[in-house]
Symmetry: C2
Subunit: 363 residues, 2 copies
Amino acid sequence: MDDFESQDPIEELITNYNELNSSVIEELSEEPSPLEFMRFVARNTPFVVRGAAADWRATRTWNVDYLKDFLGDEPVNVAVTPAGNADAPTPFTSPDGSTTLVFAKPHEEDQPFSAFLDYLIAQEHSRAHSPSPCSSPSPTPALTSKSAESQEEIRYAQTQNDNLRHEYRPLFTHVPPSIPFARIALAREPEAINLWIGNSRSVTALHKDNYENIYVQIAGQKHFVLLPPVCHACVGERGLKPAHYQRKRGRGSPQGGAGLELVVEEGEEEVPFAVWDPDRPGENATRYSALAQPMRVTLNPGDMLYLPCMWYHKVSQSCSPEGVCIAVNYWYDMDFTGPLYPLSTFVRSVSNRRNMVLQGLSL
Amino acid sequence: MDDFESQDPIEELITNYNELNSSVIEELSEEPSPLEFMRFVARNTPFVVRGAAADWRATRTWNVDYLKDFLGDEPVNVAVTPAGNADAPTPFTSPDGSTTLVFAKPHEEDQPFSAFLDYLIAQEHSRAHSPSPCSSPSPTPALTSKSAESQEEIRYAQTQNDNLRHEYRPLFTHVPPSIPFARIALAREPEAINLWIGNSRSVTALHKDNYENIYVQIAGQKHFVLLPPVCHACVGERGLKPAHYQRKRGRGSPQGGAGLELVVEEGEEEVPFAVWDPDRPGENATRYSALAQPMRVTLNPGDMLYLPCMWYHKVSQSCSPEGVCIAVNYWYDMDFTGPLYPLSTFVRSVSNRRNMVLQGLSL
């Protein structure tokens, strides 16, 4: 155990996985049967079904005016950040001048739905004149002092609390109440159905969830970068101090920009989080990051992605011609029995210990 | 990585697995559907279906006279050992008096089928008068000098080379050509269908196979002790020198007994093999062996076991009133894609390194 040099088991794990599995996602032309789906679940392997949701009422009808008709000025929860970095590792400069990564949670507030949409669209369209066109993948927000000092804030409706069956209930009948192949195969109803509305300024940082996830694009595009659970050593998980954005009460606060300041929650427990970004592979890399072979897939309206439990995913987005990006996802509880969950925890434990040793830190 | 003491990831792995999974096998009253079966495959979790094969022609009709009618004096491959220890870790005493464990392969020879059966039965019935009755689980053969010096040899038809579709072809139509739920779920035909004929003197040592296994009892009983792949650190895998039994040419050879001598294959590559026996937990144990919670199941005639790929299994047997034990198993190629195979290899690498460190051996 002292010597991982001669034949490093972590390197062997990732290499073996890469040799046996494609990094190109499987594309299906129609939804799988429950049995076919269960084979993907058993292999913990993603697939995309092009056009599976093309006929959904949501896909056919949702546009800005239509959605405003249903929700009007109803208050909806909005995540507000200076750089589209809700729940993301973010540099924080202390009063003493030192900079560390913290886990930045968004400022959350209720906004009237129509005004929220108008803001997204106006921002998106103003951005269409910039060198990064609306239809191309959004780059990772550069969390530099420049963007942090921007006076524009980024808004994203991204509560992952079953919001389509609660906050956005008037829209719920526009999508199926469950995904039949998943409901039958997994023998359960969805634990949560979430609606996501944002623009190309928001990016969801690389993370993983303990859910089987069926992700459906309604308007605009989502750009996924995926890594399997065996790649834990690549993502550089670290304990980050939790922090949150809040609206500034005064003027001239040095952190956050956009009228927002980042407040570190001193004394709170650290949040273990991936700090490596596959789109900036040279930053925050571990010895193993270069072994990762990220799987990339872009969802167009009507496309359906199976994102298996515990896969790391980073998600950026492009907008519809109207200037919004809308998606719905179904979370099904994963099965914690069997070997996969304890084995993933094991990989995480060994990988984190190994990365600490490589950094010369004590355990 | 240097310090597994504070919270040992291997211990955490086995403990997590034990907390999330029962060590009591799931019993089904009828065969699963392909989808239900696929859920077990996804969980890499065994089950038994009581009586699933009760109506098979094999189960209804196979007895000693009936089998002799079909095969008569046809030659069949028989594994011959002094103690029922085919393919088992076995103590070997060198000329210099030192004893090491070697991997003992049986002597193999063709015998007329009827004579082979008669030998099994006569041996079994002579044994029925001993304190260990025919119907109770066979203990692990004690590989002591006493048993090794016995003049009786143990015979077992146990070729795992698809023998029911070849050597025993006249009997093949007495069983289904595949197991429908497995064929449909796994979308493949069996890679091998094997017939096993022996008596209570043979024991199959703890090992694992890279196959999905459907094991069906026809006559007598099989007693399985099962361990999941996460328990690799418990089984004490070691590199053993390969060895094989051969019939003595002269007299007075000190090794093997029963007219057999054990020949170590010097210069051949070592065979990595489990040396811990869950039925003798104090011998050859690792620091982790005591954490194992073996799953035990006895198959009666007509019972069907799903033994998932990569599960360790030790198998002993009891005889029908006629004095034989007969089983059939279907091997389906496992799926090497997905994370389970590379993760199991990873557990093996880390566990073997850790056990070597604990023994003070260099890597």
